[in-house]
């Protein structure tokens, strides 16, 4: 089962200017093969499909709790796209072509299929799909796959960071680079416990430290790179303490497990876009809805 918290993992800056093409690029970090929807669904299915949950509880706990974190990552990237995807169209009568600037943008789907908001696809509009989910059921193989997946996700984030300097995108990527580093290390440690082989020796891949990225450095300094959360207040996933222990080989600091969730930040509200007919509730309809909502409570 899942509970939901109406908070965003971090506070996202909300400048008034946007960049439609940057929002298009960020889609890869959401619905691309190495995007957050992939990390989410891989760990989620692996957790559903885990054979021997009691016998191998710490490994089950790891993949189950990271699933919950990844939900928040998907939410964060989608919100980033929504905050960056602005400033292309204006409000006006349909006949004055208020969305004329959209035809030059890289992702026209954002203006047609959605109201300038996130879609479940990559930066070229190719849909996210279930073939991106690897759930072999073999523990070591799945852990090795997850290690590879997180490293690929990191690489893609670094590339998108180099493509745009929009503050919202940079802040999201900076934070997720650090969290991604945590997951890479978590799977490396899980592999070491499962096989005796220390694969963390080959990190970082690519061979660039997170501290080279301004927006990641501040999260590294806050210790965000040393903590795993259990995403549960009933002690269900305490087993991760048996894997996430010792010191971080990349900075020498102690690894920490924290119960529950991070503090989080408010979920941004999004402007109405009449030119997109979104949400498409005018003042009169709103009155009727308010009346129907308030009666018979």
């Amino acid at each position: 089962m899942f509970k939901r918290v109406n908070k965003l993992l971090i506070e996202l800056p909300t400048p008034e200017y946007g960049d439609a093409n940057a929002a298009a690029a960020v889609q890869d970090l959401l619905g691309g093969k190495f995007g957050e929807m992939s990390t989410l669904n891989n760990y989620m299915y692996q957790s559903f499909n885990f054979r021997g949950k009691k016998k191998l509880k710490p490994f089950y706990d790891l993949v189950a709790s990271i699933t919950a974190e990844e939900f928040g990552h998907v939410e964060l990237v989608a919100n980033t796209i929504n905050l960056v995807q602005k400033g292309t169209t204006f409000t006006g009568d349909p006949d004055i072509t208020p969305m004329q600037n959209a035809t030059d943008k890289r992702n026209t789907n954002h203006f047609i299929a959605s109201a300038q908001t996130a879609l479940a696809s990559d930066s070229m509009g190719f849909p996210w799909n279930g073939t991106y989910v690897f759930t072999s059921g073999n523990l070591v193989l799945d852990l090795l796959h997850n290690y590879f997946l997180e490293i690929g996700a990191r690489t893609h984030k670094m590339r998108v960071y180099e493509m745009t300097d929009h503050p919202t995108a940079r802040e999201m990527i900076g934070y997720l680079l650090v969290r991604g580093g945590v997951h890479i290390l978590a799977y490396a440690k899980a592999l070491e416990i499962a096989t005796g082989v220390d694969v963390s020796k080959m990190l970082p891949i690519p061979n660039v430290d997170n501290n080279q990225f301004d927006h990641a450095r501040k999260y590294e300094e806050q210790g965000v790179g040393n903590v795993l959360f259990t995403w549960n207040n009933e002690g269900d996933y305490e087993g991760i303490r048996k894997i996430w222990k010792g010191t971080n080989p990349l900075n020498g600091e102690p690894l920490v497990v924290e119960e529950g969730t991070p503090e989080g930040a408010p979920i941004p509200d999004l402007d109405e876009l009449p030119e997109e007919f979104a949400p498409g509730i005018g003042p009169e309809e709103f009155q009727h809805i308010a009346k129907r909502l308030m009666e018979n409570i």
Binding site: P15, Y17, F90, T91, G92, I96, N101, P274
Partner: protein, 75 residues
Amino acid sequence: MDNTNETIDMMTMIDPYLYELMLQFVDDEVVIQTTRNSLQGMLMSVMPDHVVIQVGGTLFYVRIAEIIWITKGTP
């Protein structure tokens, strides 16, 4: 040439008719189409080479040379 000191007034390229027109739009909601994108907000002030438009709570300073058209906006 004279030996006396001559002052040179600043010379700037302006679109004189566009400039005059935009003065009338000050304090109105406008839509500005630039060579890059469109901006929609309250026209705060007009200078010979740029205008100031407030979008949400933020001021944007837009070069007149980069404006393609302006029109009255819907608030």
